[in-house]
């Protein structure tokens, strides 16, 4: 029996979809059977980030409405073994499904996959409620900006009120140079304010833009720093203890990262 993990943030544009695609890819490369579910009905995007937009026939709403079987709606990613996408509907809106239907869908997916990653829409309305309905765990994404952290705080409060206690935090797009000169909140600042456990830190990295352009998640790119960060997060999700500084990365980045974590001066 698998686990349903919802990836949420409150604020839009902080990297929920990118994170979902990359964690799905990284988990599948660790040998797990993974499905990434786009719950952003009406604003479908996970398909393009994954590079699978040309292969969509059916979508999530079709499955819920019984237009097709669950198996027919799942798109197999041929590049990564065990990775599947369940795309959102593009022509319907968020009210096309309800939390009860979502719960039924995710519990069926749980029987088939090790991990079900749900990409949550921005906001706290119907779409959000649908996305968290079947979740066993939640990952909250934020960036080191005041607006994103504020929304993350709100989301954490709502998650805890919805029996999704102890969500884990991913801080995205951190810029080491700005943190160093005191112009960006650092990891400790954010954890101090949000008071939840840290799952990972993803550096602001051009390779994310490039990989999204190509439709190839950065987690599959051995040379991408952000990709490495996502691979580390994937290993932490499966329960491994991974230090926050990785030895595989380049020396200069290592030193920079160490400074961020206060390990070097």
């Amino acid at each position: 029996m698998g686990e349903v993990i919802v990836i949420t943030s409150g604020k839009g544009g902080v990297g929920k979809t990118t994170t979902t695609a990359n964690l799905g890819t990284a988990l599948s490369q660790l040998g797990y059977k993974v499905v990434v579910v786009d719950a952003d009905i009406g604003l479908r995007n996970l398909d393009v980030v994954m590079g699978l937009e040309n292969r969509i026939v059916y979508d999530l709403v079709d499955i819920v409405e019984g237009v097709c079987r669950l198996n027919q709606g799942l798109i197999k990613d041929k590049r990564y073994d065990g990775l599947y996408l369940l795309p959102a509907a593009q022509t319907k809106d968020k009210n096309a499904i309800n939390p009860k239907q979502m719960l039924k869908l995710t519990s069926e997916l749980k029987e088939m996959f090790d991990y079900v990653l749900v990409d949550c829409p921005a906001g706290i309305e119907q779409g959000f409620k649908n996305a968290i309905a079947g979740a066993d765990r939640a990952i909250v994404i934020t960036t080191p900006e005041i607006s994103a952290v504020r929304d993350a705080d709100r989301i954490i409060g709502i998650l805890e009120a919805s029996d999704l206690a102890n969500p884990l935090l991913v801080i995205n797009r951190i810029r080491v140079d700005m943190v160093k000169r005191g112009d960006m909140m650092d990891i400790d600042d954010i954890i101090d304010i949000l008071a939840i456990d840290l799952l990972g830190v993803v550096p602001d990295d051009e390779s994310i833009v490039i990989s999204t352009n190509k439709g190839e998640p950065a987690a599959a790119d051995k040379n991408s720093l952000a990709g490495q960060a996502y691979r580390n997060i994937a290993r932490r999700i499966k329960g491994e203890e991974v230090p926050f500084v990785d030895m595989d990365t380049s020396e200069s980045f290592m030193t920079k990262l160490k400074k961020v974590f206060g390990l070097a001066k």
Binding site: I146, V149, I158, V179, M185
Partner: protein, 94 residues
């Protein structure tokens, strides 16, 4: 240019500004998040205190505010309760 330098020196790194602003805004957000929270706290405080003292319930005031932490002067959320006591109850045998 000089003026800007002086300005930036006085206010410190911008992340500190962000942190302070964020902390203050979250004090508000967090109370708004559960409107019944303060009422519940108020009710329970009255219950507990009433065992020991007669209090003026109409004068009771509870609010979420911010206060300076002793060790480093940063602002932290604080629950402030102002409870007027009419008289202490006779608690013989305790």
């Amino acid at each position: 240019m000089d003026f800007l330098k002086i300005f930036s020196r006085n206010s410190g790194p911008s992340k500190n500004v962000a942190k302070e602003r964020l902390k203050l805004v979250l004090v508000h957000d967090r109370t708004n998040c559960s409107p019944h929270f303060l009422d519940m706290v108020k009710g329970d405080i009255i219950k507990v205190i009433s065992d020991y003292a007669e209090i003026d319930e109409s004068g009771l005031d509870i609010k979420l505010t911010k206060t300076k932490r002793d060790e480093d002067d940063t602002m932290v959320p604080a629950l402030v309760a102002n409870i007027p006591i009419k008289k202490m109850k006779d608690r013989k045998g305790i």
